[in-house]
């Protein structure tokens, strides 16, 4: 264990990389979730079809395959990304597909009378979604988004396979340097668990904040 602790600088570097990767891909995934999720309920058929193609494509093929495709195949067509960007794009696009279902479900869960009320107030579609529908849909979405965030964090470990020097990558370096096997991986497992638990806590706090004063079920309470 002492040998592993001696490598703490690279463990800290790895942790920071993992966190950066998580945050950037989460932002991308969230943006994609809303764009694709709202496209799924568009009036225009072509937009709906495009959204479904996106969803099925990224949900249907494996994340690791997508990552390798972006990092190893796209350069053959002259599209170069550095490893971190490739990882963020792959993770963001992949989780964005799952997230779009959450957005769609959340928006559809808002009662029909809310749509009608905002129509009666002569709100434009933008105003209707911005001020009436989405604010009510968000509390419903948060718990599921929280679960997806943990999935996202776990997926960042896979990014070590395209040479991103995240925690998992660093654990390999320590394993090779010290010939220890259990300790480096155990240490990073604990770090991952801590990061995940902090994320769970943050999502809990956000969920409480958003549901305050609203009569909406929070997951797990039923």
């Amino acid at each position: 264990m002492k040998e592993v602790i001696a490598f703490y600088p690279i463990l800290i570097d790895g942790t920071i990389t993992t966190i950066i990767l998580t945050v950037l891909s989460a932002i991308l995934a969230l943006a994609i979730s809303f764009v694709v999720g709202l496209s799924r309920i568009s009036k225009f058929k072509i937009v709906r079809v495009l959204a479904i193609i996106y969803l099925e494509f990224f949900r249907g093929s494996s994340a690791l395959v997508q990552m390798f495709f972006i990092y190893f195949v796209l350069p053959m067509w002259g599209i170069y990304f550095d490893a971190l960007t490739a990882g963020v794009i792959a993770i963001g696009c992949n989780l964005g597909a799952y997230g779009s279902e959450v957005v769609r479900g959340g928006v559809l869960a808002v009662g029909k009378e809310q749509h009608e009320a905002s129509l009666a107030l002569n709100y434009s579609p933008y105003k209707r979604y911005r001020h009436v529908i989405i604010p009510q849909a968000i509390p419903v979405m948060i718990p599921t988004f929280g679960n997806l965030l943990i999935e996202l964090l776990k997926l960042t470990a896979v990014a070590s396979l395209i040479t991103i020097s995240d925690l998992t990558f660093m654990a390999h370096i320590i394993r090779v340097q010290t010939a220890l096997t259990l300790e480096p991986f155990l240490v990073i497992l604990v770090i991952y668990f801590i990061i995940a638990s902090v994320l769970v806590k943050i999502v809990d706090i956000i969920a409480k904040k958003f549901s305050r004063g609203r009569n909406i079920m929070i997951a797990g309470e039923n």
């Binding site: 495709f69 190893f72 195949v73 896979v158 259990l182 990073i188 497992l189 995940a196």
Partner: protein, 219 residues
């Protein structure tokens, strides 16, 4: 760089071998996940608070940490303790255990949804614990669980490429090996992606249909 059918056909036989391993891994891992998941779900209803707390944190730990790292641990560490498993066995074990923590939630929800009266009825029939589960609870709890369990089957199928990281030559690694020895990246990786789409899109549609069917039956 352009698509070459020659390369595509050249790599196909190796991919076909990989597909077999991928399918085998998916089936064995999912069976393990279902059996273990059911066990965890039943244990989680234990009367002992200690058992429940230990189980809760163990499953949370498994759920909140990456499969890839768990794979490395089992693959690299077990041999140190004199336990030698094939890479395939390691991979299947980890996948199965990891997803059993997810299926356990499905089982728990399914069991919770069986009305309380059914438990009481079983008691009044003087059924013992085994008979209660086998004749009363499980037959009612299982049908609504089938769609979510099917979804986890698809998820596990899409996670099998991770086994490549511990040298299991499944579909993804078969493609990667070909790529590295022939310097052809486009065709093998595209074919792998296409294969995953071919399998997972129809099965997702099937799972959706199952969901609708079981919902209707409930009403």
């Amino acid at each position: 760089m352009y698509w070459s059918w020659e390369v595509a056909f050249d790599v196909l036989p190796q991919l076909a071998k990989g597909v077999v391993v991928t399918v085998q891994a998916t089936i064995v891992a999912s069976l393990l996940a279902y059996v273990l998941g059911l066990g965890i779900a039943i244990l989680k209803m234990s009367k002992s608070k200690l058992v429940r707390i230990v189980l809760y944190w163990t499953t949370e730990f498994i759920r909140r940490t990456p499969i890839l790292v768990q794979l490395y641990i089992v693959f690299y560490v077990l041999p140190d303790y004199g336990i030698f498993f094939e890479a395939f066995t390691c991979g299947v074990l980890v996948l199965g255990i990891h997803f059993s923590t997810y299926t356990a939630e499905v089982f728990r929800a399914g069991i919770d949804n069986v009305p309380k009266g059914q438990w009481e009825a079983a008691k009044s029939l003087n059924y013992n614990q085994y008979e209660t589960w086998k004749n009363v609870i499980l037959p009612q709890a299982i049908p609504p669980m089938i769609p979510p369990l099917a979804n986890y089957l698809i998820t596990m199928f899409k996670e099998t490429p991770l086994l490549a990281a511990i040298t299991v030559v499944e579909l993804f690694r078969a493609a990667d090996q070909y790529s590295n020895s022939h310097y052809k990246y486009l065709e093998p990786m595209t074919l792998v992606g296409v294969f995953f789409l071919i399998v997972s899109i129809p099965s997702a549609i099937l799972a959706m249909k199952l969901e609708k069917r079981f919902k209707q039956r409930k009403i």
